[in-house]
Amino acid sequence: MTEVKRRRRARGGGGDGAPVVPDAKFSSYYGRPVLKAAPWEKDIPAYLFLGGLAAGSSLLAAGADVTNRPALRRSGRLGALGAITLSLAALVHDLGKPSRFLNMLRVAKPTSPMSMGTWILSLYGPAAGVAGAAELVALAPRWIDRLLPRWARWLLTVLSTPAGLSAAAIAPAVASYTSVLLADTATPSWHEARRELPFVFVGSAAAASGGLGLLAAPLAEAGPARRLAVTGAVAELAVSSRMERSMGLAAEPLHQGTAGTLIRASRALTATGALGALAGSRSRVVSAISGAALLAGSACTRFGIFEAGQASARDPKYTVVPQRNRIDAAQ
């Protein structure tokens, strides 16, 4: 048994004799973690980012379709198709037995966010796929065009709007369920974020997809992307700080190590991107750069939250101290 004492420097304390917060003293078994961290690689945070990007892009594309903004529609549908294809590849790649991927469809279990997510993606994927394929075919050079039977072209054209609208209808679920995927674990920094994390994730999805719209669509059509991006970024930043306040000790890993670096980068990129998007409504270049910053910011948010959770599972402090405090408070 080892009694671990940790000293933390109080934040904001100045000078040499910086005040020290009281020792967080707790017992552990030779300092070993109580929990196991998820065995997930970078695939999963990449999926969190791409899933959000796809969802927001489908929403923008549907709106653009209805309001007659063809360039914004095209970038949205193509963005959604690309992002969802990559995310499915990431999901399968992360399995211990990729060949058994389809076992996910054996059951539909509301107690398993991953099961629900699989079904949500099974509905969303084909819809976003058809809408994206219609855009691809329209862009393709003539010789590829000729390879497609005429009825297939016709079918894609007819189906593109209903498919795009269906994708948009399911998209909000695609963007928000991933927060439950993380929160429904014993991992302290994910579980303790459960109240606000869905809002952080949809904000991040809106910022990323708005960012893609700003990057890809001409100024004349980019208005909705700009508004979605700015709203999303502001929501993400505001809810994140609220989330950190409600997480207690489990907020600490968000400020340390790799996670800390990523979260700081995400704040900076998201804030700069949002300001740039607001200021640059007359400049194609400023809009595009802001869009890229928002995309990068969203990716950093997902990787940062992912890493913070992993760090919180690897250190017994985040498991033991809050539980011990709970017992002491009840007595």
Binding site: T2, S27, K36, L59, T118, S179, P198, R314, R324
Partner: protein, 338 residues
Amino acid sequence: MTELFGPDPSVASSAGWADPPPRKGFFTDTSVCIGCKACEVACKEWNGVPDDGFNLLGSSYDNTGALGASTWRHVAFIEQPRRSGNEQQFFSELPVGPSATDALNRAGDAALSGDRSALGTNTEAVAIQAVPPTELPESGEPRDEIRWLMSSDVCKHCTHAACLDVCPTGSLFRTEFGTVVVQDDICNGCGYCIPACPFGVIDRRTGDPGTKNVGIAQKCTLCYDRLESGHLPACAQACPTESIQFGDLDELRVRAQARVDALHEAGVSSARLYLDDPNDGIGGAGAFFLLQDDPEVYGLPPDPVVTTRDLPQMWQQAGLAAVSLLAGAVAAFVGRKR
């Protein structure tokens, strides 16, 4: 339909078994554990569990580290300069000076490098460096207070098992005995059960492609095959001191209470039951323990709560967030030209 939280007197019926046998479980009485590790060995032998590395971990006699995909029983060793109860110490020549345990533990600790969270699962990730020299304490007054806590840890077979709740393939299931078992031929290795378990029990097996069940989630089955043919689980059969007791859960709980009372009478005031209470955060465990110190001293969470208790709240928040996103997207298009 199973509830997500609270007591459940018949887990097997809630899971859909008609007329199940009484719920089975383990009562691990750590006060009689002698640390022989017969349970670790018997478990590996019977279940054909591959080796989990041959390491010297520098943590007393524990060279296993933690439960994992290839470690379904784990014996913890804790040395404390403390007396258990009213017992006579039977050293003929008492050790002198302060205990060297802490210094040795620290040296052992410093010798470990790499990803320790992989201990017991992927020991290649943990490297053992040369153990640094330790300053052993000077001799002093004779010391007559020492106790050694040993405890054989195992999957808790929770009443509300987070691993089972979150499993997206239905590979993890509740048996007719009320235990929680992975179906090896269905698991696709998604890994979700691993961060879900509040005890860090279940893990995905790593190793060469030829390794049995590599890439899928593995843990104690409470010897499902042996139970079906009326045998004791291998660990309980092998335990020479009956520290691991197997039986009907209701009966084990009564026996455990009697044992704590007897220990308290013998002056072992630190004896307490862990995970025996159906009103706790996991609805009580199928495998519960008699401990002699706080759970965290043994590497166990002091007040575990099944994550799915909060799932309705999480889905509700996610629903609200989804609606907000939809509203935000609609608002982005409404009213303005550009």
